[in-house]
């Protein structure tokens, strides 16, 4: 399966050609190149998936295939950094997800970004992002993953800051980069600690289930926890940064400053699930060696999920609602991984998490692209500028509705199946966890339909016909096509026998719906939707009344529970004032001053001896004579 290398190389080439070779192409040419390359690698990924899942099953278990591997840097006999391609069920599944969403976004952007300044740059960055993300999922070892992990961070930074003349976009890009980079520091420390004790970076060895790999870590403890727990927890912090887990979630809502298709690609479907993928990749280690860390992941995920869902209920910017909904759904995936065990039925949570990752990527990309379509039509992100759009934009309306039903967990849409598996595994872990997640699922249904009704129903938006304003219109074909495609996927993806493809032990597992859990979650979701319908379908006073009744909660949630303010307080007031400023003073007045001292002394000396070079021959001769006499004198004396 050597051709899988092409999947990685082609987007890189596309980036180089679009980004570095020539910047004077017509936008249409640049966009077509990017889209065609993406189309090719999408086809290749599908073919890889087909070949992998149909041919590489040995005795009911999918084997790990490494079609390409090369040693890049050799440190010691055991410790070396490889670059290679690892195909196993989750990486193949991710290949399909990434290329599909990326391809859809490329097509969509042809129309959405039409006429934007820097169209070619946009496509170059998209290719770079796709390349990095693909490299991340097929990494054979943790260091290769880390390299691509950082590349993903860079391309995300570039794309968020695409409108670089807009101050808020620049600030958002910076924030995203710094926050994720901060988390990556812990990731790197975790990698180093882990490889120091295990003497390997390789996923194959680390996740082989062979406990002797971790023999060196036994008995080594730090602050009461084993060193392996520390390493795995630090690695999870890296994943939490990219996946926007509390309290590192603050960058994601701001990242919505980027173009909407970028939000769909990066901040909904692919990059933000990198953390989930990381935990899944290390799952055998987490599950067998450090179950306490895995449980901590579950609690972090659950809290993040609840926290983000509450905030999503009161946000008014439609992209921010979707951003918080993304955080909440990633929380779901983390919880599912956290509560999962290893093996066929115990590994239900793992399978559910990956299933939800798959379905969520599709319907969340659909939601974002739908939101982009709406924004394209009304030129605003705010709910108050929208309403009654269903008449003007039928395709967007229907596809958006399908996605909302999917995320709310209504059968037969894909979200129902994956969310149901997550809830089942949560109930098996503990009833409290299950109840919490069910409640969050209800909140999800509520805020998604609040969003839906506010955009497409509710009060009619005022349509002005003057000053070049026009009535909202349905999006062009290039934008509608990805919507329809993703909606179709959302409708049918739930019926994929996912347990036959991706499970914790890579063996087949038949999904069976737990009727209790399924009925309950559907009923609760339906009730939540009903509540949203009553409150938002027509203009009503209920939301306002509720907001004043729970004024404190409403205000806090609108301000995202002041987490950003807390960060600002910690960074500006504490770190900047007490650490950075003294350090800056030290740098300026001690280190710089020393260096300046050297320069000043040199300058002073050269000013002083400049007189020697007078150009007067007789003066030179005089000095020469004195020197000669001096030497003669010295020779005579000694």
């Amino acid at each position: 399966m050597q051709y899988t290398l092409l999947i990685l190389v082609l987007p890189l080439l596309s980036f180089i050609v679009l980004g570095l070779v020539d910047s004077k192409w017509k936008p249409k040419v640049a966009g077509t190149i990017g889209t065609i390359v993406l189309g090719i690698i999408t086809a290749l990924s599908y073919f890889t998936a087909w070949e992998y899942f149909s041919m590489h099953q040995v005795a009911g278990v999918y084997e790990k295939v490494i079609p390409f591997n090369t040693v890049w840097i050799q440190f010691t006999e055991f410790l070396h950094i490889d670059l290679g391609i690892l195909l196993d069920p989750i990486s193949v599944m991710m290949l399909v997800v990434i290329t599909t969403v990326s391809f859809m976004v490329n097509i969509y952007s042809l129309s959405y970004m039409d006429g934007e300044k820097g169209f070619q740059r946009y496509y170059a960055f998209l290719s770079l992002f796709t390349f990095s993300m693909l490299g991340l999922v097929i990494a054979t070892n943790i260091f290769q993953m880390y390299i691509f992990w950082e590349l993903v961070g860079v391309s995300s930074y570039l794309l968020i800051g695409f409108y670089y003349t807009k101050a808020s976009a620049v600030a958002a890009a910076k924030k995203a980069f710094i926050v994720t980079r901060f988390a990556d520091l812990f990731f790197l420390i975790g990698i180093l600690v882990l490889s120091f004790y295990t003497k390997t970076f390789d996923f194959g060895i680390l996740t082989s289930g062979n406990a002797s790999v971790f023999a060196a870590t036994t008995g080594v403890t730090f602050m009461g926890f084993s060193v392996l727990s520390w390493a795995m927890a630090l690695i999870f912090i890296g994943g939490a940064g990219k996946s926007a887990m509390f309290p590192l979630h603050i960058w994601l809502p701001d990242a919505m400053e980027g173009p909407t298709p970028v939000s769909a690609l990066i901040h909904a479907a692919t990059m933000v699930v990198a953390g989930v993928f990381l935990v899944a990749r290390f799952f055998p280690v987490y599950e067998v060696q450090t179950p306490e860390v895995l449980h901590a992941i579950a609690y972090v995920g659950a809290f993040t999920s609840l926290f983000a869902a509450v905030i999503a209920c009161v946000q008014t910017d439609i992209k921010r609602v979707l951003a918080f909904s993304t955080i909440s759904q990633i929380g779901f995936m983390m919880v599912a991984l956290g509560v999962s065990g290893y093996g066929s039925h115990e590994g239900l949570g793992y399978m559910a998490s990956m299933f939800h990752l798959f379905t969520h990527a599709m319907f969340k990309a659909l939601l974002f692209l739908g939101a982009g379509s709406v924004i394209h039509a009304v030129h605003s992100n705010e709910m108050k500028d929208m309403g009654g759009l269903r008449k003007y934009m039928p395709i967007t309306n229907w596809t958006f509705l399908i996605a909302c039903l999917a995320i709310a967990g209504i059968p037969p849409f894909s979200g129902f199946f994956s969310k149901d598996e997550i809830l089942s595994s949560c109930y098996e872990f503990s009833p409290y966890m299950g109840a919490t997640m069910t409640f969050i699922a209800a909140l999800t249904a509520f805020y998604m339909f609040r969003l839906y009704f506010n955009i497409f129903w509710g009060k009619e938006m005022k349509v002005e016909h003057d000053h070049g304003h026009h009535a909202p219109h349905e999006s062009p074909l290039a934008m509608a096509l990805p919507l329809v495609f993703l909606a179709t996927v959302t409708c049918v993806a739930g019926f994929i026998p996912f347990g036959h493809f991706v499970t914790s032990d890579r063996a087949n597992y038949d999904i069976h719906l737990d009727p209790m859990v399924a009925t309950m979650s559907v009923v609760i979701a339906a009730v939540a939707i009903l509540v949203a319908t009553i409150m938002y379908r027509k203009e009503s006073k209920i939301p306002g009344t509720l907001a004043t009744t729970f004024a404190g909660l409403h205000k806090a949630a609108s301000h995202r529970f002041y987490i950003d303010e807390v960060y600002l307080f910690i960074t500006k007031k504490i770190i900047f004032n007490n650490v950075s400023r003294p350090l800056a003073w030290f740098d300026r007045h001690v280190i710089d001053a020393t260096m300046d001292g050297f320069a000043n002394t040199t300058q002073w000396v050269s000013l002083k001896i400049k007189g020697f070079q007078s150009g007067q021959v007789q003066q030179y001769a005089y000095v020469f004579l004195l020197g000669t006499l001096l030497i003669t004198l010295l020779v005579l004396i000694f």
Partner: protein, 112 residues
């Protein structure tokens, strides 16, 4: 007194010759350092060269009477001094054409 006695006795000692050349040489050095005109400086250089010539001849005459190297060197030096004078005069003339002056103090462009 020995020196004077020897002189009057018709024998000129080596120190007398060397004394003359020493005076000539330092007269040249002084002239080289103190004169403003380049022509005078040139003459000072000639003085120094001639002092050296005298030394060659005298050392040859007194220390290695059977040899001729010192004389030859003196002849060489005279030839070189003549060439050098010709070149120096040419340079001085060119400087005069450019600067309308042969004052050595004006010649400090070379420092840049």
């Amino acid at each position: 007194m020995d020196i004077l006695n020897n002189i009057f006795a018709g024998q000129i000692p080596i120190e007398a010759y060397l004394g003359v050349s020493l005076i000539m040489f330092f007269a040249g050095v002084y002239g080289f350092l103190s004169r403003k005109s380049m022509l005078m400086i040139l003459i000072s250089i000639e003085l120094m060269l001639n002092a050296a010539d005298i030394n060659f001849v005298v050392f040859n005459r007194y220390l290695y009477p059977g040899h001729l190297e010192g004389f030859y060197f003196a002849l060489f030096t005279i030839a070189i001094a003549a060439c050098e004078t010709a070149v120096a005069i040419a340079i001085i003339i060119n400087i005069y054409r450019n600067l309308s002056s042969v004052e050595v103090g004006n010649l400090d462009q070379m420092k840049e």
